[in-house]
Symmetry: C2
Subunit: 248 residues, 2 copies
């Protein structure tokens, strides 16, 4: 069964760490062994150095990801630069709307949420910083697609369309129409396509004409006012775009 290719050990370590992506809470040794399909003795052996290096930490009933990962995570460019620049604009947007504000980037066929601001009240969305959703089901995703490089757009549209709610767009032609509408308007809407009861308005952040990120405001469907939110989101995204073009 051992094939040939490469670094088996690193792969196992990553399997162990990835375990924590799905399982929320602390994981015990046996849990990890089960979900990775690795022998117990192997997991046990690998865990020790991970603890020493602070990639894992012991918590009450098992193990959790360690502080080193947190520190390294903050040094990933998407965070340290983009986020730094985006936060003030997100603050403004939040102050103006008092609704949940998201910043997202593209990774493969998903949008990865890089930042989120929300107040006490707002809708509680399934999104999480570092979390993923299909590009085609979210406002941010559609904004990213509409202003992506053409080959990226083709590549993504070549994939089977995923569905998160009954409102998710699963017809390719409808989606293409939607994308060209976004390209014209400069704003993307999500009408309960990612979560029932939740809508959002998104606008792309452009550097040299290409979307590298997108901002969005999410609201309960009852308060969905495109006419009011659209300009606010566009203004914030444009401001951020200008700032980044100046920096880079």
């Amino acid at each position: 069964m051992r094939r040939n290719d490469d670094t088996s050990m690193l792969e196992k370590v990553m399997l162990i760490l990835q375990t924590f992506r799905t399982a929320g809470g602390p994981q015990r040794l046996a849990d990890i062994a089960r979900s990775t399909h690795l022998p117990k003795s192997t997991v046990h052996r690998l865990i020790q150095p991970l603890l020493d290096l602070n990639l894992l930490q012991r918590v009450d009933g098992g193990f959790a990801l360690g502080l080193v990962l947190f520190e390294l995570g903050e040094l990933v460019p998407v965070k340290s630069q983009l986020r730094q620049a985006a936060l003030p604009f997100m603050q403004d947007l939040f102050a103006a709307t008092h609704q949940t504000v998201h910043l997202g980037v593209r990774d493969g066929y998903d949008v990865v949420y890089a930042e989120k601001i929300h107040g006490h009240g707002g809708v509680d969305l399934p999104s999480r910083i570092g979390g993923r959703l299909p590009l085609t089901c979210t406002g941010i995703g559609k904004a990213l697609l509409a202003f992506a490089l053409p080959e990226v757009l083709d590549e993504v549209l070549g994939q089977p369309l995923r569905r998160l709610t009954p409102h998710s767009i699963t017809d390719l032609d409808l989606l293409k129409d939607e994308v060209s509408r976004v390209q014209t308007a400069g704003v993307a809407y999500d009408r309960e396509e990612a979560a029932v009861g939740g809508c959002c308005v998104a606008a792309p952040v452009l550097v040299s004409g290409v979307a590298i990120a997108a901002l969005s405001v999410s609201v309960p469907v009852a308060q969905f006012q495109p006419a009011r939110l659209g300009p606010a989101v566009r203004t914030a995204a444009l401001g951020l775009s200008r700032k980044l073009n100046r920096l880079w």
Copy 2:
């Protein structure tokens, strides 16, 4: 030269990743080889699987930390739970003061910044999310110490006191006085002890009577108004403490 102990490969991988903590920008293969003191061929061999696993990514002039690290970093308990709970209170505090707001936790003898909110204008502090400063030189640190377990306090005070500015407290007795004052007042001040020209007001977040984090507001020394900021920070920290005690 090979000693004995354990996982040499993981250690090397960590050395490579840690390289990015000090060096800000992208690193090239030769840069990494130099700063890790590893042979070029070794670095080259280790980097390939790191790219495959998305722990590293290629950027214009070299390599940078990959998105996987960002995603895992967001799953570290200090983030996913504490931050989630704290953000709304930090929003409030920011809205009330329009000054930079920090959330910090203790790790060893340092405070690690878990979250930061700042507007367009504010002072630009050397702090960074995921960054570290000595406990004894910051408001957050002193708030954490004053409400830490006694053995933790002893342990930290047993270390040599570090100095970041001429105002940093480096006399053990003065520091002990300061800590007991914080214990009484429930608020810690930093008067240019971490950065010249910057002051801050901090209050501990208590769960079961022990500080697990602290909130602070940082202001330029000219606008330092303890009487106004103290209550605001205390209110936010108390609100967060209550919320956490309810959750846990």
